[in-house]
């Protein structure tokens, strides 16, 4: 199998003007990755899947990662036909708040369908042209994205029947706030 650097130059030869960056992985696993610009991602993905040497026909894993300042989607690719892999590609969003769109790779690899929905659900990355961009695990009315590092649990989080310590304090504070609110409404 080609090394990650060779794959990088193959992509650059096949997809002109594609911005691909080598990302070093210092851990002993040696699984280096390629960062792809979101606007080129669909074409790069199609090349990786269809190229006769690579034939990365199996997208195993799709993950979101929350980094300071941006969100990232990571794709682990393998080849069932050539029996090699993994090739790791990643994409970054511009920020964590309003520019969180990335192109969906579900049209290339169907296995991204549920996994991209999960990333949207838990991290808030919106995959454009995904056929069914809904939450996967949380309920539809849920507002936030729980896997983000700055996520704060709501204070009316279901507490235990025999609450103690931190959970008990939170439950009491929530109860006090609720009764206070009800009292002021009754007063008005």
């Amino acid at each position: 199998m080609k090394t990650v650097e060779e794959i990088k130059s193959a992509i650059e030869a096949a997809v002109p003007d594609a911005v691909v960056e080598f990302v070093l992985n210092p851990s002993p696993s040696g699984q280096h990755s390629l960062r792809v610009a979101p606007e080129d991602a669909r074409e790069v993905a199609r090349f990786l899947r269809d190229d006769a040497d690579l034939r990365l026909d199996f997208l195993s894993n799709v993950t979101g990662v929350d980094w300071p300042g941006y969100l990232e989607a990571v794709y682990h690719l393998y080849s069932v036909e050539k029996k090699h892999g993994p090739v790791v590609i990643r994409m970054r969003t511009a920020n964590r708040s309003d520019q969180v769109e990335l192109p969906s790779l579900t049209p290339i690899w169907r296995s991204a369908e549920f996994q991209e929905r999960e990333v949207f659900d838990l991290y808030g990355i919106v995959f454009t042209s995904h056929p069914d961009m809904r939450r996967l695990l949380m309920w539809d009315e849920f507002k936030d994205h729980p896997m983000r590092k700055d996520y704060v649990d709501p204070d009316d989080f279901e507490y235990e029947p025999t609450a103690h310590d931190e959970v008990l304090k939170r439950a009491q504070a929530h109860k006090a706030a609720m009764t206070g609110q009800a009292g002021s409404e009754a007063g008005a």
């Binding site: 851990s27 199996f58 690899w109 695990l137 949380m138």
Partner: protein
């Protein structure tokens, strides 16, 4: 009996209508790799109204809390949307807040039928991240326990499948009788029947005594007779054949493109077993065959599991014969102050249900910065709607059962 409704007969629009070109053997994947298509929409015949049913979350056939929103035209399924999340507890978030080792007992609870393989996948990912070595004896113990796990998973999943077909009791109880013996072995070695918490980064928690190994040899010898009995009881059963053959066909190109793994992928005829491909642990030392299906229907998935059980026994007996002495933990492994250097790793194994992977990012701290489980059960359900469309609602139960999922892993 229901007939398989062919697309052209019922106005089913199938964008990618590639069908399997030739007979037995591995299919050629070198053609057009376009396995993607949205599930075909079936046009109702215009008589009567569509009936929308929520199958689940408390339907006995859903193996837990899982819902399928099914739209029926008479008995025929015209739409099926799976709904997840009833058992979601954000395992990944919890794991990012605790140390690496503290997640090990929690992985038991993912796929609670096969805790050993969950432990193994997680330990493998962390060992990749840190570059740790595993002693020989521990590798053998992992293989022995992993194959016992695969055996009991396949036996009970077949038992559940047949139970859902209406054969209440017998096949499932046959399977559970064997599972009981295997769980007794787990209990004796690890202290727990299911929540084993057995593996560590760089080895296994406790060593197996020679008495335990002898007992395991005895159990392994008995498993051969069990598979013969089980297969003889079921494989040529007329009702089983009528209900499962030609039902829920999954084409190989679609299976690969949709990320389907495990027995389901091999039942579609794709030769991909991570034990062979990656040869993780010491699997490249064992001689075993990878059974492949011809049709990719429910019957093939059932039969593949039977054949894999036979191969498992072979691996088990070879491992029990060759197991060397020595330590079961890497002496350099440290359990306190465990802080992998910054970096990332993706480790995967062939779990009984498919490819189970763990993706870890370390920032040098005591907790993983990112901890991700690649759940085979969830991803194998991607094609559930495609397999069910056009079949009767009674077949949905069988097709779903043949996927073999555990909700603890689907929802995490």
């Amino acid at each position: 009996m229901t007939e398989l409704i062919l697309p052209e007969q019922n106005g089913i629009r199938v964008e990618d209508s590639q069908v399997r070109k030739s007979g037995p053997g591995a299919p050629s994947l070198s053609g057009k790799p376009d396995g993607w298509s949205r599930p075909a929409t079936i046009v109702p015949d215009g008589e009567g109204e569509l009936l929308e049913i929520a199958m689940g979350p408390h339907h006995p056939s859903t193996h837990g809390v899982f819902r399928m929103d099914v739209a029926l035209d008479g008995e025929r399924v015209v739409r099926l949307k799976p709904v997840f999340g009833y058992l979601h507890r954000n395992h990944e978030k919890i794991a990012e807040g605790i140390s690496y080792l503290a997640s090990m007992p929690y992985t038991d609870r993912l796929d609670y039928i096969c805790p050993i393989t969950n432990n193994w996948a997680y330990a493998l990912a962390v060992e990749k991240l840190t570059g740790q070595e595993v002693p020989e004896r521990a590798e053998y113990l992992r293989v022995i326990l992993g194959e016992l796990t695969r055996f009991q998973n396949h036996a009970s999943s077949i038992g559940f499948l047949i139970q859902e077909m209406g054969a209440s009791g017998t096949p499932l109880m046959y399977a559970f009788r064997e599972r009981e013996k295997i769980l007794d072995l787990f209990e004796e070695l690890t202290g727990a029947r299911m929540m084993v918490n057995y593996m560590r980064f760089g080895g296994c928690r406790v060593d197996a005594s020679s008495a335990w190994l002898d007992k395991t040899r005895k159990v392994a010898a008995g498993l051969v007779g069990f598979v013969d009995e089980f297969e003889g009881l079921l494989a040529t059963n007329e009702i089983l054949m009528a209900r499962t053959q030609g039902v829920g066909v999954l084409r190989p190109e679609m299976a690969v493109n949709a990320g389907v793994t495990g027995p389901m992928l091999r039942a579609s005829g794709v030769n991909y077993d991570i034990r062979k491909v990656d040869g993780y642990g010491i699997y490249n030392r064992f001689n075993f065959r990878v059974p492949l299906g011809d049709h990719g229907d429910v019957y093939d998935r059932f039969m593949i599991r039977i054949l894999e059980m036979r191969e498992s026994i072979g691996i088990l007996q070879a491992a029990l014969k060759d197991i060397p002495g020595g330590p079961v933990m890497d002496p350099k492994a440290r359990s306190r102050g465990f802080r992998p250097k910054p970096g990332e790793a993706y480790g995967r194994i062939e779990a009984p249900k498919g490819e189970l992977g763990f993706y870890l990012i370390s920032d040098g701290g005591p907790n993983p910065y990112r901890y991700r489980v690649r759940p085979p059960s969830l991803i194998n359900l991607t094609v559930l709607e495609d397999m069910c469309l056009g079949h009767d609602v009674a077949d949905v139960v069988l097709i779903f059962g043949s996927v073999d999922i555990v909700l603890g892993e689907v929802d995490r």
